[in-house]
């Protein structure tokens, strides 16, 4: 690693990406220094190079024979035209995706009848046009060749007709012995059919089970208010936020609106200093010369900040302050101004202490001593912001912590301000399966129907559900995958994807959405609604009729609901509860004291969620936001705990609890709480598909019904074997230069343009005459490090939009990942008090692009609109451009990654983007296909100039935090031009004078002076 002398970080911060880098061993420095990591140019596995040459020679010979004829292509128009369909033109439909009790309103783009891209729905309060990683990636599941396609009876393929006939033959009588198990029922139609089923079979039962649920949260509000209520947060009003083990920005996110509101309050830091101006980024160089103002920089009025896109008015309340108390280092922890590492099991004690400190509970003996300073400072800050503070508790925490959070919010006057409560009509529950298991054991269940879940895999380990399930006489499972439960079932039925079926869903704020299909079922599948109708009425019925009848909407309202993606006026009314402090106090006193020693916490996976997305290659290849691990899950421990356990990265931990044992590869996570092991659910699948089978370990094997979130009483030892996790965190070294820039609010107030002050002051040299970029559309981008939470939504959106291939675990370990945008995660501070800054990094579209001057075939050249164009068909694969790129954003196709792809998977490709071949370089192009589409549309419509916001890049469109702004920098009124004159704006590697079109806004944290 080259350390460039004299380049300092004004704030004195050292940024590092891994513990290896922090300790900086010579071997590691040598590894980093290589432009392409060792083995990256090795074509195939050893010994196969000769075979490759043979194949090449053979294919040349064949090519000579076949090239004499022009290939005949056919055009196959419809026989009967489809109304409104224009070949090749995108169509957009609103629908809704339900996962784990949450409903995500989405707008889906279809071309020629193929859904290819998911976006958020602007009409929905919880989406605001943004979509999370799971929604973005869900379109890949639709075309998964491993999807369940056939009805299976006892391992043999059969038909729906055979199942229907067999079902008619079943003697269900009054329903005694009939049970239905499903995931959270968020669909009113499914709920209606459930009522119909129970009416027809009075003794039948329908239970719900979600491995990731809100049981504790609802039990907590019941403790506090005597009513099961769901908190609805309004972070736009919260000046001080305390998270009690809640990753509300990512894994425990209740709705994307929370991220947006939080991010806007982070960005409100700009209102605390006078607005920047265009010249702010330019200052005398070391040689005393003024930099020439670049022509692209528009001179914005001094009050530019007032009209900013994410409007920060002079009356803006300014930046918020976030305190996080947690064990695992989550993305919410990464945004924290102050973060307390604490075992999850001890968070309840912390919450009780804090409640006493702010007089929500009567004074008593404090349980924790060591976090006193933190606790008193938080208490003081919360009390100083009554009505403008917020306390959130995470779903892993027991009910009394949720009750304490509710009580504290009441004492602080936050209820009705930053948090309100609604009565949920649907909820994700995790307890139903316990009763079901008991009844199976008592031989009371004869027929068990499982609708769209996989209980054999996800059920709590203490229920021994797999054996119990097999003991039921007749089991019928509807699932989109042939999974663990399918193998154990008498009947397995293939389930339709949400993009193939009619349905409806209630989101967590009560808003109802209609789910409309964009494509006929690709395989012979049925939806849960259709199968439930079969149970309830004896015929499968038609999804459309069932949903429409249930909605009770008039035709016009129905059509409006389909169009908007929401049914107007369905948001749940706010209730005004009063917390009973006595009840909470009693619950806190009655709660068992957490056992000392090691604990285990169970987190959803940022890729697989609860296991349902494990066969999604886009999600598996997206590096886990904090660890950057791909295609795996790890057991996370703190550096201190690792030393105590005598393990290093690469070791495997053997975890044992109550006679159940799991082996998991260890990853040492800076900033993780000591004496705590974070396990990730959703991996270690015994049976799913070619992507997800056998990757990672199965954390469900340790998860019991009494410890769904946090488990103590664990024995952890180092296992004999070792295992290498593949992580991208050390790929693409930046050689110690000030790439990410960060300051505190105090430092920011003192020097608002601190970020550009960190530029190296050298004479800027222009190698050749610059092009005149002063006319027309000049595309540029600003990425705000202040609001980026590192959630990967942009990365998956980019993958979906731009046909980016997946390369697999082994290839990522060789540094061959293909993502055009990556989320660089930098740590600052020490290994214990580490803080994190995320930096999305894609092609910077340099005006003086170093890649272009070294290309021998002019495959990468500049467009007059400032884009660094990539002509794939010209590229001969010298890789000189990647070598010369200072940002490491070019990706090379070492193989034809699309070669062995199944026909059905090809349907996911965006036809507006070339599918690249082996030997071709590729990179971000600011979604040039979207730019061209808008330009042509404007041209055809008659030359109206492109307005700001007409062109959205895929990453920008999906970002829930509005961290990415794209537009015409020649238009002084565009959002991007205004942000370019923001105080915090800085250019990466400014000293190279390559004039990147993407610039960054530095991060500002808001530390509490009392904790400094």
């Amino acid at each position: 690693m080259i350390q460039i002398e004299g380049i300092g970080n004004q704030t004195g911060k050292k940024f590092w990406r891994s513990l290896n880098e922090l300790s900086s061993t010579p071997k590691f420095r040598q590894w980093l220094g290589q432009e392409f990591s060792e083995g990256v140019t090795e074509l195939l596995d050893s010994g196969s190079r000769r075979r490759f040459m043979q194949l090449m020679a053979a294919s040349m010979g064949l090519a000579g024979l076949t090239a004499c004829r022009r290939p005949v292509e056919k055009i196959l128009p419809f026989s009967k035209a489809v109304e409104g369909l224009v070949h090749g033109a995108p169509q957009h439909y609103a629908t809704v995706m339900s996962i784990g009790g949450q409903a995500h309103a989405v707008v889906v783009e279809a071309i020629d009848g193929r859904p290819i891209k998911i976006e958020g729905n602007k009409n929905h309060r919880l989406s605001n046009g943004a979509a999370n990683v799971w929604a973005q990636a869900s379109v890949l599941n639709l075309y998964d060749p491993d999807r369940s396609q056939k009805v299976i009876e006892k391992g043999k393929e059969t038909t729906w007709e055979a199942f229907q006939a067999a079902f008619k033959g079943m003697d269900l009588a009054d329903g005694a012995g009939l049970q239905v198990l499903s995931g959270a029922v968020v669909s009113p139609t499914l709920a209606g059919l459930r009522a119909g089923l129970v009416a027809k079979y009075p003794k039948a039962k329908w239970v719900e089970y979600e491995p990731l649920n809100e049981d504790e949260s609802l039990a907590g509000t019941e403790l506090a208010f005597g009513d099961r209520l769901r908190p609805q947060y309004d972070l736009s009003k919260a000046d001080v936020v305390l998270s009690l083990d809640s990753d509300f920005l990512q894994l425990d996110n209740p709705g994307l609106n929370v991220i947006r509101e939080f991010a806007r309050r982070r960005k409100a830091v700009d209102s605390m200093v006078p607005a920047g101006h265009a010249g702010a980024a330019h200052k005398p160089s070391a040689h005393g010369q003024e930099h020439k103002a670049e022509p692209k920089e528009p001179v914005a009025p001094a009050a530019a900040a007032v009209g900013e896109p994410h409007a920060v008015t002079p009356a803006s309340p300014g930046i918020n302050r976030l305190y996080v108390v947690e064990s695992n280092f989550t993305l919410t922890g990464a945004q924290a101004d102050h973060r307390l590492r604490l075992r999850s099991a001890d968070v309840s004690s912390f919450a009780a202490d804090l409640a006493r400190e702010i007089s929500a509970l009567p004074q008593g003996l404090k349980i924790l001593g060591q976090s006193d300073k933190f606790l008193t400072a938080v208490a003081k800050d919360l009390l100083a912001h009554k009505g403008r503070a917020l306390v959130l508790a995470g779903p892993r925490q027991p009910a009394q912590v949720h009750a304490l959070a509710a009580l504290m919010n009441q004492v602080l006057g936050n209820i009705g301000e930053t948090v309100s409560y609604t009565r949920p009509t649907t909820a994700a529950s995790g307890s139903g399966i316990v009763g079901l298991a008991k009844e199976i054991a008592a031989n009371q269940v004869k027929t068990l129907v499982v609708l769209g879940s996989n209980p054999v895999y996800t059920a709590p380990a203490d229920l021994d559900f797999a054996a119990k399930y097999k003991s039921v006489a007749t089991t019928i499972q509807l699932s989109s995958e042939v999974d663990e439960t399918a193998l154990a079932s008498t009947w397995h039925l293939p389930e339709s994807h949400y993009l193939e079926s009619w349905g409806d869903a209630i989101s967590s704020d009560g808003t109802a959405s209609l789910q409309q299909p964009l494509i006929e079922p690709i395989f012979k599948t049925k939806s849960a609604i259709e199968v439930a109708a079969l149970l309830a009425t004896g015929t499968t019925g038609n999804g459309y009729d069932l949903v429409k009848a249930q909605s009770k909407l008039a035709d016009s309202a129905w059509r409006q609901g389909l169009h908007d993606g929401i049914v107007a006026g369905t948001q749940a009314p706010v209730v005004k509860p009063v917390a009973n402090s006595k009840a909470v106090e009693a619950a806190v006193a009655a709660a068992p004291k957490p056992a000392p020693g090691l604990e285990i916490t169970f987190f959803p996976s940022a890729a697989s969620y609860d296991g349902r997305f494990v066969n999604n290659a886009w999600l598996q290849e997206a590096p886990e936001p904090m660890t950057k691990v791909v295609w795996d899950n790890a057991a996370l421990v703190s550096p201190k705990t690792a030393r105590e356990l005598k393990v290093e990265d690469g070791a495997v931990l053997s975890l044992e609890r109550g006679g159940r044992k799991v082996e998991a590869p260890v990853m040492i996570q800076p900033g993780h709480a000591d004496n705590s092991v974070t396990l990730t659910l959703g991996y270690g699948r015994a049976k799913v598909g070619r992507v997800g089978t056998g990757i990672g370990y199965n954390a469900y094997a340790l998860r019991t019904s009494d410890a769904m979130g946090i488990a103590t009483g664990v024995t952890v030892v180092k296992a004999a074997r070792t295992y290498t996790l593949v992580t991208t965190q050390e790929h693409h070294d930046q050689a110690g230069r000030p790439i990410v820039r960060e300051a505190s609010v105090a430092a920011f107030k003192e020097a608002p343009a601190f970020a550009s002050h960190e530029d190296e002051h050298v004479e800027l040299i222009q190698l050749f005459d610059s092009f005149d970029y002063s006319k027309g559309n000049q595309w540029g981008m600003v990425v705000d490090l202040q609001s980026c939470i590192g959630c990967n939504a942009c990365l998956v959106a980019c993958q979906s939009e731009n046909n980016i291939p997946v390369v697999g675990r082994d290839q990522v370990s060789k540094g061959r990942e293909m993502h055009w945008i990556r989320l660089d995660r930098y740590f600052t501070g020490g290994e214990d008090d580490a803080q994190v800054v995320y930096q999305p990094m894609a092609c910077q579209q340099c005006e003086n692009a170093p890649c272009e001057s070294v290309c021998p075939v002019a495959a990468t050249v500049h467009s007059p609109e400032g884009l660094n164009d990539m002509a794939y068909n010209r590229c001969v694969g010298t890789r000189y451009c990647a070598n010369n790129c200072p940002y490491k954003v070019r990706r090379f196709n070492y193989f034809n990654w699309h070669k062995d792809i199944e026909e059905v998977s090809k349907m996911v490709f965006n036809p507006d983007v070339t599918v690249r071949m082996r030997g071709v370089m590729e990179k971000c192009n600011y979604c040039v296909q979207r730019v061209q589409e808008v330009k042509i549309a404007h041209k055809v419509a008659g030359r109206t100039p492109i307005q700001d916001g007409d062109v959205l890049t895929a990453c920008q469109q999906t970002c829930p935090a509005e961290a990415i702004t794209f537009g015409n920098i020649n238009d002084p009124n565009s959002a991007v031009a205004k942000l370019k004159s923001n105080n915090r704006n800085y250019t990466l590697l400014h000293e190279l004078n390559i004039k990147p079109r993407t610039t960054y806004l530095a991060k500002v944290r808001n530390p509490n002076p009392e904790l400094a």
Binding site: I75, L76, S79, K80, G88, D869, A871
Partner: protein, 215 residues
């Protein structure tokens, strides 16, 4: 000194050398000219499943191009008409014709008529019909006098250099938009002069950078 080789062998060597050189040059130039787009592309005229005559429909009867190619003015693809468009007339006209049997079969079965593509661009070229037709580039510029063709034949190379000729100098190929589908339209006077007027009026500035057509 005794000669190891006779003078004759020297002559043979020279002749052989000349023959080799000539055949290499000849072979290379044959290969070069034989694979040029101008040699390979124009004149491609596959046999279609139905001998649909553009000359009869568009020429003699004067049907407008957009009757069948409905999206040519508004989308990337001009669109090949569905069988339904044929059947608009052919349920009444020539309803028993033998050559129209595949069309009737398609209408009855719902299967497509398998037309053979004549004008083919590589997959990495994103040509958009609407952006050309709405600024006044006529069908005839790329497709020739379709209205005089009994069977459609490719007349231009559709090579990148040919595209760029017009993108660099569009004036000779522009006409008022209302005449775009009038293939026999001729301007009064110099087409380049009229073209320059249209360029000025519409602000036409065709892209000549890579991402204009390649994405």
């Amino acid at each position: 000194m005794e000669l190891k080789f006779s003078k004759k062998s020297d002559r043979i060597l020279k002749t052989v050398g000349l023959v080799i050189a000539l055949s290499v040059i000849g072979g290379a130039s044959t290969l070069y000219y034989a694979t040029l787009p101008t040699t390979l592309e124009p004149g491609y005229q596959p046999k279609q499943p139905v001998p649909y005559s553009h000359k009869l429909h568009a020429g003699n009867m004067g049907m407008d191009c957009t009757y069948c190619h409905t999206s040519v003015l508004k989308a990337a693809y001009a669109s090949i008409p569905p069988t339904q468009t044929c059947m608009n007339c052919h349920t009444k006209v020539k309803e028993k014709s033998v050559v129209l049997e595949p069309v009737r079969a398609s209408w009855a079965s719902g299967e497509s008529v398998p037309w053979i593509k004549v004008h083919r661009l590589p997959d990495y070229v994103y040509f958009n019909h609407s952006s050309h037709t709405t600024v006044g580039v006529s069908c005839v510029t790329c497709h020739g006098r379709i209205d005089q063709m009994v069977e459609v034949k490719q007349v231009q190379t559709l090579a990148m250099s040919w595209c760029l000729e017009c993108h660099r100098n569009p004036a000779p190929n522009l006409r008022p938009v209302q005449f775009v589908t009038k293939l026999d339209w001729k301007p009064d006077g110099d087409p380049a002069v009229l073209g320059r007027e249209i360029i000025a009026k519409k602000g036409i500035n065709p892209p000549v950078n890579c991402s204009g057509c390649h994405r």
